[in-house]
Symmetry: C2
DNA sequence: AGCAGAAGACTAGTATGGAAGTCATGCTTC
DNA sequence: GAAGCATGACTTCCATACTAGTCTTCTGCT
């Protein structure tokens, strides 16, 4: 691992949370590569903390399926796996289509405000060719839908299975920049939700979540070393 | 917390896993009551291990939503919440209906063997009025479906949201013993899956997962102290 | 040369001590 | 009596030391 990690020790947030956040980000953006070994000691030294909070962050990231802790042997960043990505997609389709239906039923003025605002910022990020910002806004878009649907735990589940897909999308984004298409799909979902058309919302979401299947084979081929 | 906990120190499984399992079981069966405070030291002493593995188990159970760790203040078993139960049910309906469809498409001789064997044992548990055994078999039934559908991560998600519902079902089971009805529903799902009828399988599963909504109000009323 | 085995350099797992924060209790002060 | 503050008994959080397992590497023997 050569990427420089940084951690802000100023405020009162528990160290373990910061460590977790920094590591998750480093993994999803692949500044730590899939398949790479990491050790508690190494990360602790790099971040200037003791092994303990790092170890606890490892547990969390292990639960999330990003790390695999091998007792007495070491810890490694799990490689991207086509099966795991398709599996995560399956979950997201099931959950998010249900969320889309529910959101369409519970739409209102506030939903209009927040979704349109988010879409606006997505377009700006695309104009400025800022994939990182778009990535964040994409995540926010899906979180907002769960919020509108009144299903907080749906977002927790999605957050849980997302990272595997995210690494593929990150590669796809930096390679091909398909932001335009994604924004159109987000727009279609938004229209359907705001017009209260549950069936159309579900359909638009299903189509949106099918997108990754298109890019997956190409990404897997171009970055074979990152896949298992 | 007055319930006696026990832990087997013999084999080589990491202590933290045993602690996690023992605690999860104690929480779901409510030998540790919702709302009750637990402390690392207390559990560690009771189990004859150090605080460290207990602490790590707390982290895992906190991620699963069974415990809430309040920094510097203490840790408590989260109370059952109607909203959380309904939320978990929403997730399960979305995921398990998709699993049922997929399982129906991928059914085969092996599916027949394992499902019918499981059903047989369910009936025996009901005959012998053994709710604990039935509980385990119920869990196995749903896990088998995910396995048949070839969606391992679906089971991980279900496992994650299940515990909240499980406590309600545990109360319902010990109060009312509705095993008969549940077995009929499991039978309907099995028939649909084995005949390859995806639509019927989804329908049967949806109906099955609606069941808990029937008992929830009564359980919440009879055990108001366990709810928030 | 080739193999066996000891030694050492790693790893994560566990135990323990102390730091930092929270809260209830009781004393002090007005 | 009531408000404010010190105190002590908790809690989790973090650092550190030690245990135990794994893997490589080197050494000595056949």
């Amino acid at each position: 691992m050569s990427a420089a990690l940084a951690i802000d020790m100023a405020d009162a947030e528990p160290i373990v949370h910061k460590v977790t956040r920094v590591l998750r980000q480093a993994i999803v953006t692949m500044r730590i590569k899939p398949g790479e070994m990491v050790s508690e000691q190494e990360i602790a030294t790099k971040l200037g903390v003791s092994r303990q909070p790092v170890r606890e962050a490892f547990i969390r990231l292990g639960e999330a399926g990003l790390l695999r802790v091998l007792p007495q042997r070491g810890t490694l960043v799990v490689k991207i796996s086509r099966a795991a990505v398709e599996d995560a997609r399956f979950i997201r389709e099931a959950v998010e289509c249900a969320v889309a239906r529910e959101a369409a039923r519970k739409t209102g003025p506030r939903a209009r405000t927040v979704l349109q605002d988010n879409l606006f910022r997505q377009k700006r990020a695309a104009r400025e060719k800022d994939p990182e910002a778009f990535f964040t806004l994409d995540e926010e878009f899906h979180r907002l839908l769960a919020e509108i649907a009144g299903r907080p735990s749906a977002w927790r589940v999605i957050e849980d299975v997302k990272p595997q897909m995210d690494r593929v999308r990150y590669l796809d984004m930096t390679d091909a920049m398909p932001m335009r298409a994604l924004i159109d799909q987000h727009g279609a979902i938004t229209s359907a939700v705001l017009s209260g058309d549950a069936l159309a919302a579900e359909g638009a979401m299903r189509h949106h979540l099918t997108e990754i299947l298109r890019s997956l084979p190409r990404v897997a081929e171009q970055h074979a070393d990152l896949f298992e």
